[in-house]
Amino acid sequence: MTAPTALDAHGLGKRYRSGWGLQDCSFRVPAGRVVALVGPNGAGKTTLLQLAAGLISPSKGTVRVLGRRPDDPAGKALPRVGFLAQDQPLYRNFTVKDLLRFGRHTNPRWDDAAARRRLDDLGIPTSRKAGNLSAGQQTEVALSLCLSKHAELLLLDEPVARLDPLARHRFFSTLMDVVVAEEITVVLSSHVLTDLERVCDFVVILSASKVQVAESIDKLLADHRILIGPRGEPPWSSAIGTVVRASHRERQTTLLARSPAPVLDPRWDVQQPSLEEVVLAYLEDPSIDAPQTLEPLEAS
């Protein structure tokens, strides 16, 4: 039985010596989604991923992955969660073959054949030391380690930041293939919104250490509109919903507004925003958030 919720955070916070890395984060990610985690540097993306992975423990609040604590003393969470850190650490002295053996010895559900096949397809020589591989190959090997242990939840921290376009394409291709084949949940953080828009179907916007938005992308785009009309001032008519961002020219006002119902006010020209426009609007004003409409949990 798969848990219907892959990631569940409640009042999650993490304090460092220099301040709060994450504050009061509450959101839920349904299983089987590919989640885009976006936000400015220092907003807490890495902290959130590390908390979900159980590498660090929260100062406040709770986080559950696949229904369990990440540091589950019974050890039920660790085999099901995979984590790819920003700099893809690998044992540089180990050959790729050694790394596969490492995976085999430390994971009971290790799929060696699939790992070899995947690396073969990518043309990665198993006798080469990990430190001598290119950045793209290292990322692929690190990803393979996560995938071959049959993790059900993947947490990827800026996995493609250092990769050239071909390596990036291969990475996402591998990832999407596994998403189809095994119905896993993926949370990945990145700055490149175009990548995320292609590959993700759920978005979490993290800004100033807080969660602003946690929503499926389809719903987010369906609920937001660009409204273009004559120059105006707040307060806006309630018929257009909640204004997320307003910008003005001499005679024209452009609004990004959120409302579940269509806007029928004839004074406004209504257009569909792109994901990038919505994300940027929220990032510009960390004080706004979109209340999460939590999908009802499936009956088991």
């Binding site: 394409h169 291709s173 293939d177 998403v179 189809v180 292609r198 590959v199 179907d201 792109s274």
Partner: protein, 132 residues
């Protein structure tokens, strides 16, 4: 089997691009009834997009009655959008190529040609013949 492409700059939603490409292939006779569309896994591996996008595109085609999904087997084309036979299509293609050469020789650039074609299409084919 059709091979999909994605144009990220076109401003058109990905799922719609995929559906459009299927319709285009049907019109050109490159796909016909009974042909199988690529599996979700095949599409996703070749152009690295979210599987739900492919599912959305295929669902739209199903709604229009162009395709049908058979559980365990795949998604198959139901009907054709072919207006002309392949032989006719080939003939029209050759004549169009010849005409294009003439138009270019007359000094029309690509934009001019497209504007010309658009205006004739808009006016209706009969209207031009009236003028002539």
């Amino acid at each position: 089997m059709i091979e999909f492409r994605l144009d990220p700059t076109s401003g058109v939603a990905t799922y719609r691009q995929l559906a459009d490409q299927v319709r285009q292939a049907l019109r050109l006779g490159l796909l016909g009834p009974g042909d199988q569309l690529p599996t979700v896994r095949e599409v996703v591996t070749s152009i690295a997009i979210n599987p739900n996008t492919v599912l959305k595109a295929y669902r739209e085609l199903e709604r229009e009655g162009l395709a049908v999904g058979r559980p365990g087997q795949g998604t198959f084309i139901l009907r054709s959008l072919l207006s002309a036979s392949p032989a006719d299509q080939l003939r029209m293609r050759k004549r169009l190529a010849a005409w294009l050469a003439q138009a270019q020789a007359a000094g029309l650039d690509e934009r001019g040609i497209r504007a010309l074609v658009d205006s004739v299409l808009d006016a209706g084919v009969g209207a031009v013949e009236d003028i002539a």
